[in-house]
């Protein structure tokens, strides 16, 4: 425990291009890039599927099938089949991030109260206007929930990037393991890295939870609070999210 804390708080490990802050930025960089690309694909796709009701099988099939796919294998195999670099790693991470965002967007649009959609149509709104002005704002809590669980999955999985010679916080665990558990840069480095990874995941989860609360329309927020007083512990996000890393 002591050698881990010494390693963690050694000022030498908090500066330079291989220091902890630089690795955190790298890690967040991979994560942000991945989630942006995945959201750019999955939100429009999920919105169209939810709005038209066509292609529903894609949503269920993707989330069931991909949950069983070992991400470690996917990422390393993609790198082996192409080259060591950011692109194959990001592609592997995007594949992982797509299902939760797709499922969240789809469920969000589908769960919009039918009478609300009817009212919008009754007021003379066209299909695309209904989608933009009514369905998407109402679906926002579940869309953001999907993005949130995708982000946490990607943060967890981006640690594997270090195994294929990229950066990020996985570096400390992999390098420590390669140094041999007994050496001073061995297990203490691994455990210190693991602590930073865990703290980063928890902080990002907290920040996204706040974003989710702030970004959601006040009208929906009130409904959510009313529900929450009835069942305090319930979160508005889908409950059963599997994890593969």
């Amino acid at each position: 425990m002591n050698s881990t804390l010494n390693w963690l708080f050694d000022p030498a490990h908090w500066s330079g291009p291989t220091g902890i802050p630089a690795r955190i930025l790298e890690h967040l960089g991979y994560t942000a890039l991945t989630v942006l690309i995945a959201a750019a694909i999955a939100v429009p796709l999920g919105a169209i599927i939810g709005h038209t009701g066509r292609g529903t099988f894609l949503v269920a099939g993707l989330s069931n099938g991909l949950r069983a796919l070992p991400e470690l294998g996917l990422l390393t195999l993609l790198v082996l089949l192409t080259y060591v670099g950011l692109l194959p790693v990001v592609v592997a991470l995007v594949i992982l991030a797509l299902p939760p965002i797709l499922a969240g967007t789809y469920a969000g649009i589908r769960n919009v109260d039918a009478s609300v959609v009817d009212a919008a149509r009754g007021m003379g709104m066209r299909g695309s206007t209904v989608l933009w002005k009514v369905e998407l704002p109402n679906a926002l809590p579940l869309i953001l929930g999907g993005i949130r669980s995708a982000t946490l999955q990607v943060i967890a999985t981006a640690t594997i990037a270090a195994y294929v010679a990229l950066g990020g916080l996985g570096r400390f665990v992999i390098d420590g393991n390669n140094a041999g558990a007994g050496s001073p840069n061995g297990y203490p480095q691994m455990a210190a890295g693991a602590i930073v990874i865990a703290v980063l995941a928890l902080v990002v989860e907290g920040v996204l939870e706040i974003v989710q609360r702030v970004a959601v329309s006040p009208g929906l927020r009130n409904v959510a609070t009313r529900k929450r007083t009835a069942r305090i512990w319930r979160k508005p996000t889908p409950d059963l999210v599997g994890r593969s890393t």
């Binding site: 796919l69 294998g73 082996l80 967890a156 665990v173 512990w233 409950d239 059963l240």
Partner: protein, 222 residues
């Protein structure tokens, strides 16, 4: 990168593949079973006392948020295990299973209608018997749904342990990567995927078999 596809590797290494598969199942399924056994009483306590619920459910959320590589790496620090101890993978898997199932069990038990428990009490069930014979069976479909997610996740999570040297089929993935052997990697990935889908189907089936009343109700509704 020049990728090797040494197909003859496959027939020559059947024993090794079988051994890795056995190890993988041992690493992945034991903790899921342990997690199920532990989460039933925890979920029962959480459904009964709101104070327990207010502690357990957020705690489960926090534990589920921690990435597996971090949790696997931290077990030796917390429990004093050696770096290649199977427990380093099994303890995190059990934690994830419990974190997932505590919520399912709590949810399911709270959803048992009050009149059902009242009727069971009225015809003479004592609380312990009532829980085992009435409330828990009614919670089975929700628990099975949670268990399926936990078991399928465990199959691919176990592979992550290979990064620190414990991983069953995950070990074939990392070894294949180091030796530039795509066949070894594809075999391991496919086995994990197929076994996960088989376990998922078996759990779905088992859940249906032990809750015959759910089938009757669906049939009657048609």
């Amino acid at each position: 990168m020049n990728v090797d596809w040494p197909w003859p590797w496959l027939p020559r290494n059947v024993d090794k593949i079988v051994e890795a598969t056995g190890e993988h199942l041992y690493l992945a399924l034991l903790p899921v079973l342990a997690g199920l056994v532990i989460s039933v009483p925890l979920g029962w306590a959480a459904s009964r006392w709101p104070a327990v619920r207010l502690v357990l459910v957020p705690l489960a959320g926090v534990l589920y948020t921690i990435p597996s590589l971090a949790l696997i790496t931290l077990v030796p620090l917390l429990l004093g295990t050696k770096i290649i101890d199977p427990l380093n993978v099994q303890v995190p898997l059990a934690i994830y299973t419990i974190a997932l199932l505590v919520r399912s069990v709590t949810d399911a038990l709270l959803a048992v209608p009050g009149e059902v428990t009242a009727a069971a009490t009225a015809i003479g069930f004592r609380p312990a018997k009532r829980f085992l014979a009435v409330e828990l069976p009614l919670a089975v479909p929700v628990i099975v749904a949670g268990l399926r997610v936990a078991a399928v996740s465990a199959m691919s999570l176990t592979a992550v342990g290979a990064l620190i040297g414990i991983g069953g089929l995950g070990g074939l993935i990392t070894e294949g990567f180091r030796r530039n052997n795509a066949v070894e990697m594809v075999v391991a990935i496919a086995l994990i995927l197929v076994i996960a889908l088989i376990i998922d189907a078996l759990l779905l089936l088992a859940g249906k078999v032990i809750t015959p009343w759910t089938r009757v109700r669906q049939g009657a509704a048609k």
